[in-house]
Amino acid sequence: MGKFIFRRFLWMLLVLFLVSVVTFALMHSVPGGPFSREKEVPPQILEVLNAKYNLDAPLVQQYVDYMSAVIIPRVTPPGWTRTISEDYLLNIGLPGDYAFRWMNFGPSFRERNRTVSNMIAFHLPVTAQLGFAALLVALAIGVPAGTIAALNRNTMYDYVGMGIAIVGVSVSTITSGPLLQYIFGVNLKVLPISGWGSWEFMVLPAFALGFTESAIIARLTRASLLQVLNEDYVRTARAKGLRESYVVVFHTLKNALIPVITVLGPITAYLLTGSFVIERIFGVPGIGEAFITSISNRDYPLIMGMVLLFAFFLVVANTIVDIAYAWLDPRIRFD
């Protein structure tokens, strides 16, 4: 197990390295720069800006400088204060007012008074909360719906449940979001239309976001449960005279969830890094906005920070999924 995690860790470093190189190369090869405006920035000011943000250095140098700032941690002495070019995402206090600091993503080019680390620290928790709530919604609806459909295969329950799932997968959040807003916010006035701050604000976006994912989970649960229900050991369990509910929950569901757990990895990473559409529709101050607009703004440090973060979550989520396999199915070994 330890060896597996270590090997996964090395893989993760390789993935993050490749992702960073490809992203860096792509974003610099696209025409237009961070200071392209309809009202053009005078050339002498552009020169100052390029010098200020290290954009006049050779590309390889820029890459090395940026990545070393992100990777190399620092222990700061007492009295250290953050600056626009040095602000870390991870800050751990040490004795004597020293601090261990790691991951300096640099200044944002669009919001020139803000660092990317600060943006992530501020907006990521919002998205993560919403994503977690959406994940709960997805599981709370998806797993039971899939189970009921599988147990009542080819009955009304199955058709209705899977019909709803098809609707859930097909109707995008760009439609379901405003629809929910209209029903519960504008018409019934029971939930706020947009904003953030307390749990009421979370209900609609979490539901809109989670419902789509729940449909995927329901369909997967159903398919995989149907397969497991035909296994010999299930017949044995039933032959032993166990109650049907016991058979389903303890003998089949656990094994049936492996494919579901597989998709939970990317779903979690996706939910954690935000859905731009849902955040915009519900005015949620999450990281999704930064993710999307960083590209149109050519906000290079923000693009790098966001892509690295997403890659990191994806790799970690997949690793956790692999570990969960072993718990669900002892036949799976890490060699």
């Binding site: 025409p31 237009g32 720069g33 005078p42 100052v48 239309i193 915009r280 005015g283 101050p285 149109s296």
Partner: protein, 560 residues
């Protein structure tokens, strides 16, 4: 079934409780105006580097210059009570501004919940002085600050351009404090709109002690100080920004003490804003999605709350005059004459835009108006379009429009631009038989690429309400904002002369001649329409409508 009923009852009770809680928290005696400010967070509150309208809107409320622009786009005294103008022998002009005394710097204290005066080390109240102006102006002009808009101020002060380009010294910039309340500015010329430029957002006093202590982080709510009619209260990033009445603002005739206690600007999309407005969660929307306008105008309630006004921007097509066949002036004129602008605003954009025959937006001071100068601009005229096309084809030695080299039109990806350019494409094909291809690119790519395309979409919005900001600042040969590759000595001479001309009518005449060169004789661009602003306001809000792009909330009120 029983279970379902129980569940339904639970849901209903929960909903009821929520509604009650919501209703109670909305009760408040304070006059809080709730509005929106667009889908992206306000990028900065630093006067020296602000570039976008949301940052500038907040600055307009919290920082005041020597002058400011009122709702009618007229220059009014701001922090200066009055000023004297003296012409110097070397062609420069000296302006001496007398400032209001004892306006304190203030900051919102979240613990006491009140706006408080800022004290210096000795415990005395810090007041806004001429020295804060001098520091602010020099910081803006300093190339190290790297402000996008520094050039507007630099061009208005003697020695400013040299200092901003790094060739001159900041010490030689023509701004100094004669005493705490007297500011002397030397302008390199005698242009009549100089006082307007001295009041622009990048020309505000700036708090040296805060900026030096916190560097870039000085604009964070914990550090941000201001002195205008409002102060910054809260700024949960990406969610909203709230300004609160500054009780220490003395109030002037032009800039009264606000009647509103607070203004909350939500960072939301226009569609969300409309939903919240309809649900009574917003008192005013900044802008309405164009697709919603027909529904709003048909609605008996909303149509009464709807206002269409001019937005000080002009939508136009740029011609790259260096790229064949756009180097042929007759072809450019033929294409411009063939655009039915009325048809576009009536049937395509449908948002209250007005057809443009000139480039300069009608809201600008000294702007020539189409009705006063008939035939000078360029409008839809199919006959002239045919004549010009015939001349163009003769010049190029072609028998038919179909023999023209391929022409590609570029616009930045947006369904609205697509609709306009598809209409224009059809007009050119129908009227002239000229076939063009349309292509679109994402915004930053489009900005980079448009000088390489024969025809491209463009728009220009005012920074200060004077025709100079359109004609000189975009198409004078010294401008970096001109992507057409067109320049003209005659045009340069006209806009230079107009800038120095004190008489308003004479300026209008000169600008009309410049427009004639730009849009008709040389047809470097085809003006299409003047933008429109559209907003919704609840009937209990008493407000003014700014013709410029920033509202003046100190003149607004809520009648409870």
């Amino acid at each position: 079934m029983r279970k379902f009923q129980r569940l339904l009852a639970l849901v209903l009770v929960t909903a009821l409780v929520l509604a009650v809680i919501g209703g109670v928290s909305a009760q408040d005696d304070k006059k809080v105006l709730r509005t929106d400010i667009g889908p992206s967070d306000v990028p900065t509150l630093d006067p020296a580097i602000a570039t976008d309208s949301s940052s500038i809107q907040i600055l307009e409320m919290t920082y005041i210059g020597v002058t400011f622009i009122d709702e009618a786009s007229q220059v009014q005294p701001g922090l200066a009570t009055d000023w004297t103008v003296t012409a110097n022998d070397d062609g420069t002009t000296t302006y001496v501004f007398n400032l209001i005394h004892d306006v304190p710097w203030v900051k919102y204290n979240p613990e006491s919940g009140a706006v408080e005066q800022v004290m210096d080390e000795s415990g005395a109240v810090r007041v806004v002085t001429a020295h804060d102006f001098v520091y602010g102006w020099k910081r803006t002009i300093d190339p190290a600050t790297a402000g996008d808009y520094a050039y507007l101020l630099a061009g208005a002060v003697a020695g400013g351009e040299a200092a901003n380009s790094g060739e001159g010294s900041l010490d030689d910039v023509g701004v100094r404090a004669i005493d705490d309340y007297t500011l002397e500015v030397i302008a390199p010329n005698n242009w009549s709109f100089n006082p307007a430029r001295f009041g622009l957002w990048m020309a505000r006093p700036q708090p040296q002690w805060v900026i030096e202590e916190f560097a870039e982080f000085w604009i964070e709510p914990a550090n941000f100080v201001s002195f205008g009619p409002f102060a910054l209260k809260e700024w949960p990033r990406g969610e909203s920004i709230t300004i609160i009445k500054n009780p220490y603002w003395p109030g002037t005739d032009a800039l009264p003490v606000p009647a509103l206690d607070e203004v909350v600007f939500y960072v939301i999309d226009e569609t969300v804003a409309l939903a919240r407005y309809e649900a009574g969660e917003l008192d005013r929307t900044d802008t309405v999605a164009i697709a919603e306008i027909p529904r709003i105008q048909a609605d008996p309630v909303l149509s009464q709350e709807f206002n269409l006004g001019n937005l000080e921007c002009t939508y136009y097509a740029g011609f790259s005059v260096g790229i064949p066949p756009m180097d042929n002036v007759h072809l450019r004129r033929a294409l411009s004459y063939a655009i039915d602008r009325q048809d576009i605003v009536e049937n395509v954009t449908q948002g209250g835009q007005r057809p443009a025959e000139f480039f300069t937006n009608t809201g600008m001071n000294a702007a020539p108006l189409q009705e006063d100068y008939p035939g000078v601009g360029i409008g839809y005229d199919p006959d002239k379009a045919q004549e010009e096309l015939a001349l163009a084809l003769a010049d190029l030695g072609l028998a038919d429009a179909s023999e023209l080299p391929p022409i590609t039109v570029l616009y930045n990806t947006s369904s609205a631009h697509q609709a306009v350019y598809e209409a224009i494409q059809a007009m050119w094909a129908d009227e002239l038989g000229v076939q063009v291809e349309l292509t679109n690119q994402e915004f930053a790519t489009y900005l980079d690429q448009r000088p390489t395309f024969p025809i491209w979409r463009a728009g220009w919005c005012s920074d200060y309400p004077d025709a100079h900001n359109f004609l000189f600042d975009v198409f004078h040969s010294s401008s970096t904002n001109n992507d057409t590759g067109w320049s003209s000595e005659a045009f340069d001479a006209l806009v230079e002369q107009a800038a120095a001309e004190p008489d308003l009518q004479a300026r209008r005449d000169l600008y009309a001649q410049a427009e004639s060169l730009l849009v008709s004789e040389e047809a470097a661009i085809a003006p299409i329409y003047f933008y429109a602003s559209n907003e919704l306001t609840k009937p209990y809000v008493e407000r003014t409508f700014a013709s410029g792009n920033q509202e003046r909330f100190e003149n607004w009120d809520i009648n409870n």
